[in-house]
């Protein structure tokens, strides 16, 4: 039997079987599994994020027994290309370089750089951002200057929580008066 004949026979088999596929029951079973995992993942995530946020707030508030924090969960975040990623530096930046404008839907929102909350962490792959409200005194914990008269003022912050539930970084949010 020549190779051409073998190839011809193989083509006949491929054509004969090209419509064969897994029965619908496999898809139904997989979708059920998908929904179950998504559901458990979602609740695990919310629980983990809440615990992580609580841990962050406990640390930040340990110095300031003032206003009660307000926490809201923002949509999940995934890494962005390095060039556009928020800078998470292990060093506190100089005050003059801290504040920068962000192109966000809230045109007048200004945010600080991210400040790391843990020294060594596994690479960040996926996570979630929590918008929290803190007393301004919390900014001092990352080295940002706050006037004595404003320590108790509420300020918003974004806490970046990794997929594993560890709080990775925090940034503070303000609003441009212009």
């Amino acid at each position: 039997m020549s190779e051409d004949q073998v190839l011809q026979a193989l083509r006949a088999l491929a054509e004969s079987d090209c419509e064969r596929e897994a029965p619908p029951a496999v898809e139904a079973s997989l979708l059920g599994e998908f929904r179950e995992r998504r559901h458990s993942y979602k609740w695990r995530w919310i629980g983990g994020a809440a615990i992580a946020a609580g841990a962050v707030l406990a640390v930040l508030l340990s110095m300031n027994h003032v206003a009660r924090p307000v926490v809201s969960v923002l949509p999940p975040v995934t890494p962005v290309p390095r060039a556009a990623a928020p800078v998470i530096s292990s060093r506190a930046p100089a005050a003059s370089t801290v504040v920068r404008r962000m192109a966000r839907p809230q045109a007048h929102e200004v945010v600080t750089e991210f400040f790391p909350l843990i020294d060594s962490a596994p690479p960040f792959e996926r996570g979630q951002m929590l918008r929290v409200q803190l007393p301004a005194a919390a900014m001092r914990t990352v080295g940002l200057p706050v006037g004595e008269d404003h320590l108790a003022d509420p300020i918003q912050a974004d806490v970046l929580v990794g997929e594993e539930g560890m709080p990775r970084a925090i940034r503070f949010v303000g609003f441009d008066v212009q």
């Binding site: 020549s2 073998v6 193989l10 088999l13 998504r38």
Partner: protein
């Protein structure tokens, strides 16, 4: 139309529509690969399900620089099939036809197809997977190499050797049938 990689990303973010689209696009290829490798529909169903479950769990391990998502799926399917074949007793594999009643000389198209199917199942695994991927599923040499975790040159040589063995088996069968 979204690429496989984009669908995977959205599926891992919880988008059921994306997962369904990806499954429907690729399940046939995975199922047929398992079927041609094992000759067993039940194994093929199980493997197909396991491959997509593994994708949900370990899709993050997919590295586009090492090959397409389809080759990644073939790679998972291959491991699952081989695991099952190793656990299966040799006599359970339908590698050779059960009787010599088929006459190759005047085989109908259906008989030819079944003869080739049997001959493929009787090939040693390394040649069988090259023939199934490249000749039956039309996978590129690069995708096959990624799935089989070997160089492209190895895929080519296994494919050539596999075809040669198929030719011998089919010819031998024809002789047996005629005698």
């Amino acid at each position: 139309m979204l690429s496989d990689e984009e669908l995977l990303r959205e599926a891992r973010d919880g988008d059921e529509t994306a997962f369904t689209a990806l499954y429907r696009r690729r399940q046939g290829a995975v199922y047929r690969f398992a079927l041609h490798m094992s000759g067993d529909a039940a194994i093929s169903e199980d493997v197909t399900q396991e491959v997509f479950l593994a994708l949900l769990e370990g899709g993050g391990r997919f590295d586009p620089s090492r090959g397409s998502l389809l080759s990644f799926l073939y790679g998972i399917a291959r491991n699952r099939v081989l695991r099952r074949l190793e656990a299966k007793r040799p006599e359970e594999l339908s590698g050779e036809p059960s009787s010599d009643d088929d006459v190759l000389e005047d085989l109908t198209r259906r008989e030819t197809i079944e003869a080739v199917r049997s001959a493929i199942l009787s090939l040693p695994t390394q040649y069988r997977e090259a023939v199934v991927l490249c000749d039956l599923e039309n996978a590129s040499y690069e995708d096959a190499a990624a799935a089989l975790e070997c160089p492209v040159g190895t895929v080519r040589s296994r494919l050539s050797r596999g075809r040669g063995m198929l030719a011998q088996k089919l010819a031998a069968k024809a002789v047996r049938s005629l005698s």
